[in-house]
Amino acid sequence: MATGQSLVLCDLRQEAPLALSVFIGQCAERLHAGERLLALFGRSEEGGGIRATAVFHSPEIPARLTVLRGQAKAGEHYPSLTVEHPAAQSLEREFWEQTGLHPDGHPWLKPIRFEGARQQQMGEYPFFRVRGQEVHEVGVGPIHASVIEPGHFRFMCLGEKVHHLEIQLGYQHRGVEALLLGRSPWSLTPLVESICGDSSIAYAWGHCAAIEALADMPGGLETDLLRGVALEMERIAIHIATLNGLATDIAFLQGGGTYGRLRTAIINATQRLCGNRFGRGWLRPGRSRGLAAAQREELLKTLRDFAQDFAGINELMLASHSVRARFQGTGTVSETAAREIGLVGLVARASGIAIDARSQLPGRLYDRHPLPMLTESGGDCWARMSLRMREVEASLNWLCALLGDATLDLSTRHAQHAQPSTTPPALRPHSLCVSLVEGTRGPVIQALETSAEGQLLHYKVQDPSMPNWFGLALAVRENEISDFPICNKSFDLSYCGNDL
């Protein structure tokens, strides 16, 4: 097992897979010992069995990603991990939906995205029912009032108060994981960039790193630097889009106007570097578009101008009484609850949990060029908003320091470590590579398994939104139903990332 902290490469011939009961038993032991279960998935094998994989964040020093492998017969049952570790709930549901392995005792066994044979059975979702004379239900979606992806929200209310919210997703399911097996692994990046289109860089980076590891051609620090720059540009753009949405949702119009044009400046800068406002085409396995000296200067200037105006509008927004009145104490997820249900990424940090792969699984890039671990303690809409502002500031500082450091070479000379037109190298056979990139919403995980011939056999994708949607459902409990839009925006989770 080789590991670059946020990446692990396993030779699958070295260890035999565990029987399902042993596999689940060991997962439970690790959870008890304080390891975090990041992903749990399986694929069908020829002959009808299921090959299962669990990915853990193991906190020993230095922290790293570790993998457990199991084997099961089709339709087998096992004792649900969720009973004692609610954080496993969405992972086990997906595991069940994709493999048919049944977690006995799971309290909430419902489809995650209605894939496979369940497609177009969206009307059959088993909603939780709250009974009582004064209970009423409000259903919204899948199509919402604004320009936003589809999903169905069903509120069970007592008067104006939300007693429970149930979120039904799956409308965006495009069958991404199956499609990823249909082409040469070297020309998958455009598809990977469209899995969750506002996080193209995070996905492309994880994908490129995995392919490069499987092909034994890792890039150098220069490649990481460039990809790191691209990722922070993406983080700034998406956080600002969310801040824009939050301001607009509470009719703080100056925020809407200013964040809107500030975001334009950032994504237009991205377009100047790679041809596309969303970073499409910037990263490819074996290469990344570098920054010429003039481009680097121009970017630095854009960021410096941006930083000043960004600070101004933040100050205005944070000082406004109407903004405070709407956001403070609204949509709170306590630290205990956040831990219990296994929130990840920004929303976990806004509830006081210090998790960020850039700090905890730094690898060579963030070892040398660290970003601070930022958290907020409130767990409410206000905390999620302020944390987004602070994360943008941290990204700006980091970018300006890197771009201003004349000793760092970001030009194409180093970024190109393979010629695109040569025949692409083969991938290692019998291997599993898991990569993790801390994107705007949290850890984007991709796991690629190869066959005896070095062909892709399984491609598992996991967006940070999947475990986090349940957090939104908790956040709105006991809140006014009219505060749902700001709660939803403050989480700003991905529908297509969940639905795949």
């Binding site: 409308y171 499609l179 998958l188 106007g257 499409r280 105006d309």
Partner: protein, 249 residues
């Protein structure tokens, strides 16, 4: 108060005066296919293309499929394919989106006198994402920001299909969205039109071959305007719709 004024001052005036004349720096837009001869037996561009947008002999790119990734340019050993920052990519006919050395331009959008009369001063649109990856959706949202400000032409995104004259479709149409899309379309009062935004909506894009996609909706409803891109650039959308409705900018 003073803070608010200073933020307003720094905001300045941000709208693009004439979107048709904009110059989006660096944008990888319209493909340019040169006259250079292809190396014998070479099909590199076709191999790397993620959306089956390229056909060979002669080399032709279907902008309805192309996601403007630029990979074909890098793969081509003969330097036959390039891109410029032309964002006027929209067309009123699906076949108008084919580009080759012999046919280097997209068919210009046909101005419709009827649509001009009906919607030239006010067009209300309802957006439906049917499997979109949130990039086209964010660009559709950006149409209304202070830079593109499409509202100045009387074009708005509205909340209810009942209030809408047109449906802006993004995404390849996931099977799980087919029912909702149809209900939304049926709820819109006639006369009504569909605008297909992005490679996914036009052709299925990189998802065209997926079993999770069901595009039968478009067998019964033909889009009035196709806006290519991945995601479609706001300028492609604006110039296309202004041309269609005969609105001067």
């Amino acid at each position: 108060m003073f803070k608010s004024i200073s933020v307003r001052r720094s905001q300045g005036s941000q709208y693009i005066p004439d979107p048709r004349q904009a110059q989006p720096a660096g944008f990888r837009g319209k493909p340019l296919i040169g006259e250079a001869a292809c190396a014998a037996g070479c099909g590199r561009c076709q191999e790397v293309c993620p959306s089956r947008a390229i056909t060979l002999s002669p080399v032709q790119i279907d902008l309805g499929r192309c996601v403007l990734c630029g990979d074909c340019e890098l793969a081509c050993p003969s330097g036959k394919i390039g891109f410029d920052n032309d964002f006027k990519l929209a067309a009123t006919e699906r076949e108008g989106l084919l580009i080759s050395a012999a046919r280097p331009h997209i068919d210009p959008v046909k101005v419709s006198a009827e649509l001009h009369k009906r919607f030239g001063r006010s067009l209300k649109l309802r957006s439906v994402s049917a499997g979109g990856c949130n990039a086209c959706e964010m660009e559709i949202n950006a149409l209304g920001n202070v830079n593109f400000d499409i509202g100045r032409y009387g074009i708005d995104i509205v909340a209810s299909p009942r209030h809408a004259d047109g449906l802006v479709l993004s995404g390849p149409i996931s099977r799980n969205m087919t029912a909702a899309l149809q209900i939304c379309w049926d709820a819109m009062p006639a006369p009504k039109l569909v605008i297909a935004v992005g490679a996914c909506a036009i052709s299925g894009g990189v998802f065209a071959d997926s079993e999770g996609v069901d595009r039968r909706f478009l067998e019964t409803v033909k889009p009035t305007l196709y806006v290519p891109g991945c995601p479609a650039h706001p300028l492609s959308f604006i110039s296309g719709i202004l041309d269609l409705l005969g609105i001067s900018s």
